[in-house]
């Protein structure tokens, strides 16, 4: 490179560098002055602090918020004080003796304990507590206290532990908690620290930020070389009073933990337990099903969307995640890998074809859009032909000439094939959207699925996605509309969505957002369905439950004297007809049997509730699911009131009916 001087300097460059020199000197002088102030002027004070007293920092974990039931005296989940047995290696007089003694008293591996004590001494951390045993029992605690003279350096520390009072009841709704793992810790820093508890499902997960609270801390001054003794008061709050040598310590500063906020839920836990019991035990006991049923029941206040019960069977006990035991992991694994999926909430975390329950939606849509009216009659001869294809009605002999009220009461398929064709898939989609089908209901619990309502666009999109070459897969045929009209084909809905749809019929045509946290408050839309439509559909649904003489309504088995019950049965096909040919119902393999569904509501009582039921592989909505609704209504409105138990006290009211019972 050829050497070149870089030409003339800028004007004032040296002056600017001069200023920099001054700045460096000035800053250095400032730092030295500050150093002088800290070390020489105030040095005595700090030296005293460093020598006599030292500051010790202890985190106070915030207790997790309590989850209450609908009745605010009923606790669903709270915290109990678990006692951990710990020891401080430096304070042990005879480490081996103490460890051997502990091995006898509380059944721990004394050899491993000695090893960890030695490791701590080698690591120069003799004052750090070593955990001997977590969550000791009362007996163990008494034994240790009895021998306390020989167990110097061993003591107990209380720690809040989550307790779910009702074990299996509402397990999936409350959710579970565990220690935060690495990945979640990285995402949630710095609010969470290693060892913190985090909610993993249900309310515990959804309301984690409310339930967590804020950790506090204590700073105490302490004597040279001593260890503050952490104790806990009756509320489980830690405090420090003395050190390991019994000298009292001064608390410099304390910032109390802010406990997590309580969550007041809408759950009527007695009703919840009853619903789970009916599904789990009664159906089997009454020989309605062959093996223990799997299914779900939603009980919702139709005017607000409060969920009184949200049962799903089988369920699980969230306590297994917090109760330490040697085989804890085995228990957790067995629940998580159970083929019956107890951790899945069958009301909103999975979807089913709604079957004839869907006819309620179709009836509303067809009436509102003017595709049919109250007097439109179709003739049912047991089957329906359309361009070389035949669709059957569930009743081989047919229903004769039926209007909309009878079609709902007897669940006539042929009527709805015709009505569906008149209405068309677009308008049906519009009403499905209005009444909350095919999209999440907005329930405040995790992992809700939206289900799905088919449409010409979606069919083509699905065919495109799987790169189909068959032109039929892209085109929407009238046959698709016909299948859709009775809730089969590609129609999928959650049990919760069925409840929301039923609620709209019961509450005057409004859509509600279901919820469990009372703090949310109701979210109710304006009236979506006209009064006339409501009157006609209600008449049909009432007849479905009330009509006694043959041909009786399909929901007949839900009838209770004195209650005005509207209902609609549904039977969702699981297997194709050809697989079942020639078999009698109860000879069909369990996993191929149809699902039994039922939606219903009561209008002449307060609060007005809607129930939505599925009994998986329960065969018929009319014979399996409808009796379940009867049991729920009976328990909610009548039985519990008579026995004088606390809970919601329903009362009979005069509610203007949209239609008179038709007999």
């Amino acid at each position: 490179m050829k050497p070149t001087a870089n030409g003339k300097r800028f004007e004032g460059f040296e002056r600017r560098m001069g200023w920099l020199l001054v700045a460096v000197v000035a800053f250095s002088a400032l730092l030295c002055a500050r150093l002088w102030q800290l070390q020489i002027v105030d040095g005595q004070v700090y030296t005293k602090q460093a020598e006599d007293n030292r500051l010790d920092y202890e985190v106070i974990k915030s207790p997790r918020g309590i989850i209450y039931g609908r009745d605010e005296t009923i606790v669903l989940a709270d915290n109990r004080a678990a006692l951990d047995l710990v020891l401080t290696p430096a304070l042990l007089r005879d480490a081996e003796g103490v460890c051997a003694q502990l091995g006898n008293l509380v059944d721990v591996d004394s050899a491993a304990l000695i090893a960890s004590v030695e490791r701590a001494i080698k690591r120069k951390t003799p004052f750090e507590q070593i955990l001997v045993k977590q969550d000791i029992t009362k007996t163990e605690r008494m034994r240790v206290e009895e021998y306390s003279f020989a167990l110097q350096g061993v003591y107990t520390v209380a720690r809040p532990l989550r307790r779910y009072y009702h074990n299996h009841a509402a397990g999936q709704i409350l959710g579970w908690i565990n220690e935060i793992d690495r990945e979640m810790l990285d995402r949630n820093k710095p609010r969470y620290k290693l060892g913190d508890i985090i909610g993993r499902d249900g309310i515990e997960q959804r309301y984690e930020s409310d339930l967590k609270g804020t950790d506090g801390a204590m700073i105490v001054t302490r004597y040279n070389g001593s260890v503050p003794q952490l104790r806990t008061d009756v509320h489980g709050m830690p405090y420090i009073e003395v050190d390991s040598k019994g000298r009292s310590l001064a608390l410099e500063r304390r910032q109390d933990a802010v406990p997590g906020k309580p969550i007041f839920t809408s759950l009527d836990i007695e009703l919840q337990i009853e619903c789970e019991r009916i599904l789990r035990d009664e159906l089997l006991a009454e020989d309605i099903v062959d093996i223990q049923a799997e299914g779900a029941i939603v009980v919702m206040d139709v005017d607000t969307g409060e969920l009184l019960a949200l049962a799903s069977v089988p369920t699980y006990d969230p306590n297994i995640f917090t109760t330490q035991s040697p085989d804890q992991q085995t228990i957790i694994d067995s629940v998580m890998k159970d083929p019956r999926k107890p951790m899945l909430h069958r009301a909103f975390q999975t979807h089913y074809p709604p079957g004839s329950v869907f006819k309620v939606l179709l009836a509303v849509a067809a009436l509102e859009e003017g595709a049919i009216d109250e007097h439109t009659t179709f003739s049912c001869g047991g089957s329906f032909r359309y361009s070389n294809h035949t669709w059957r009605c569930w009743r081989p002999g047919g229903h004769g000439g039926v209007s909309i009220v009878d079609a709902l009461a007897f669940s006539c398929d042929v009527f709805f094939y015709n009505a569906g064709l008149r209405l068309g898939p677009e308008k049906l989609n519009k009403w499905a959207h209005l009444l909350g089908q095919g999209e999440t209901t907005g329930i405040d619990l995790p992992r809700e699925v939206p289900g799905g309502i088919p449409s010409p666009d979606k069919k083509a999109a699905a065919a495109k996605r799987r790169k189909s070459t068959n032109r039929d897969d892209f085109k929407w045929y009238p046959g698709d509309t016909i299948n859709m009209s009775i809730g089969q084909g590609m129609v999928d809905a959650t049990i919760l969505q069925n409840a929301v749809m039923m609620a709209s019929v019961l509450n005057g045509g409004k859509r509600v957002r279901p919820f469990v946290n009372m703090a949310l408050g109701p979210d109710v839309s304006e009236q979506l369905i006209g009064d006339n439509t409501l009157r006609i559909v209600s008449a049909g649904l009432l007849k479905c439950v009330e009509k006694k003489q043959p041909p009786s309504g399909t929901g007949r088995e839900a009838r209770i004297e004195g209650l005005t019950i509207l209902g609609k049965t549904g039977t969702a096909q699981v297997a194709h007809m050809s697989q079942l040919k020639g078999r009698r119902e109860r000879n069909v393999p369990y996993e191929l049997r149809d699902h039994a569904l039922f939606v219903a509501g009561v209008t002449n009582m307060k609060p007005r509730i809607a129930v939505s039921i599925i009994v998986e592989h329960g065969l018929h909505g009319s014979t399996t699911a409808a009796p379940v609704a009867k049991k729920v209504f009976d328990y909610f409105y009548l039985k519990r009131k008579q026995s004088g138990e606390p809970g919601a006290a329903p009362e009979a009211v005069n509610v203007a009916m949209h239609g008179e019972p038709v007999e």
Partner: protein
């Protein structure tokens, strides 16, 4: 040596881009201070290593790791001395692109540390691109400013300098590396100041910066910063708002420094650090350890050594007739000076905790190498400045 021969020697040292003979005329003043400061650092880290557990392996001891990093850094520094800095400046655009590429790469495949993505790992090598970005920026700006010269007075060219700096700064901010993001603006401002840009541009930039800093101070909760960064700022502004978590570190640091008094407690006898009251005493808070164990005398000597080092660097910038060389010197001096003053001010509780290491003393391989590269650059300018006389 006759004057002709000296001139020939000088000429010889400049005709080749890489010439090891330059090492013979190295500035022992700068290098000597560097060695003394490193000595202080190793002593402090030796003391800090004693509180490691007894079974810590030799290569995990702080002072061993620091010594290895220093040797590596010194080698690189000496290599830089041998290379003509003008050749390096001509490579600045390439440097800029490579560093920007690494900063983007670290966003995707980096390893996280304390909420920020800082590291690139390849086998045993850990690379911290944000460290390299400091030097790349100094070289890039020197390249740019030496090329535009007087035209920096115009708003357009002034804006150009900000585009160059802004690119790197945005990438650093994306990594949420608050420490490095704080270092870059002073470097840019100082180099622009040295290059003689218009004062009112500089003042308006500083005013905007101060306004942003004020926002940070008074509306910290609404800013898109990591929680730990917010709490650090908050604990300084309102020490009582969160007295326990961040305040704990401040209290313990003050006790450590204050209890050192005039002569210190002696190396290895600092109770605050060895009983683990003081977190991070081997990295960002090493000055507290020095102040505790070596007292006011030790602290004063360290501050003075830094001051002498920086003064020498500025004098070099002033006397170097080559503008590019001057600018390089100003940039390197600013990097080191900013770290020194801010780190010590934090330790003495004059500024909030931000996580800046102390050059030559804090344990940290990447940063040690960066510092030594700055020293190498300064030395490289120094050995060549005579040619222009």
């Amino acid at each position: 040596m006759s004057s002709i021969q000296r001139d020939l020697n000088l000429l010889d040292s400049h005709i080749r881009t890489f010439n090891y003979r330059n090492l013979s005329r190295i500035d022992w003043y700068l290098l000597g201070i560097t060695f003394i400061l490193i000595g202080f650092g190793l002593t402090a880290l030796y003391s800090a290593s004693q509180s490691l557990s007894a079974d810590a392996s030799f290569f995990s001891l702080y002072y061993v790791r620091q010594f290895i990093a220093f040797c590596l850094g010194l080698t690189i520094a000496l290599a830089i001395v041998c290379i003509d800095y003008r050749a390096l400046i001509s490579l600045a655009p390439a440097m800029y692109i490579v560093v920007a590429g690494l900063l983007i790469a670290v966003l995707f495949i980096g390893t996280e540390a304390k909420g920020g993505q800082h590291w690139l790992r390849y086998g045993p090598f850990n690379l911290q691109p944000s460290e390299l970005s400091k030097l790349a920026l100094v070289y890039s700006l020197a390249w740019y400013l030496a090329a535009v010269r007087d035209r920096i007075q115009s708003a357009l060219y002034f804006a150009g300098a900000f585009v160059i700096s802004g690119g790197i700064l945005v990438l650093i901010l994306l990594q949420k590396d608050l420490g490095t993001a704080l270092v870059l603006p002073p470097v840019v401002l100082m180099m622009l100041y040295a290059a003689g840009c218009r004062k009112r541009y500089l003042f308006s930039i500083v005013a905007v910066g101060v306004a942003m800093a004020a926002t940070v101070f008074f509306a910290v909760d609404k800013l898109p910063l990591e929680e730990y960064q917010k709490s650090r700022i908050k604990s300084f502004v309102q020490p009582d708002a969160d007295p326990l978590e961040s305040g704990y570190q401040i209290i313990q640091t003050k006790i450590a420094v204050g209890s050192g008094q005039m002569w210190g407690k002696g190396v290895g006898k600092g109770t605050q650090t060895h009983l683990r009251f003081l977190p991070e005493f081997h990295t960002d808070f090493i000055f507290a350890l020095i102040a505790e164990e070596m007292g006011f005398v030790g602290g004063f000597i360290v501050i003075s050594l830094f001051a002498l080092f920086l003064l020498r660097g500025i004098v070099l910038a002033r006397d170097c007739p080559d503008l590019a060389g001057s600018l390089l010197a100003v940039g390197c001096v600013t990097i080191i000076g900013f770290h020194v003053f801010v780190n010590i001010a934090i330790t003495l509780h004059l500024l909030p905790i931000t996580g800046l290491p102390l050059p030559f003393l804090s344990q940290g391989g990447s940063f040690c190498v960066t510092t030594m590269m700055c020293v190498g650059t300064l030395l490289s300018v120094q050995v060549r400045k005579g040619f222009f006389d």
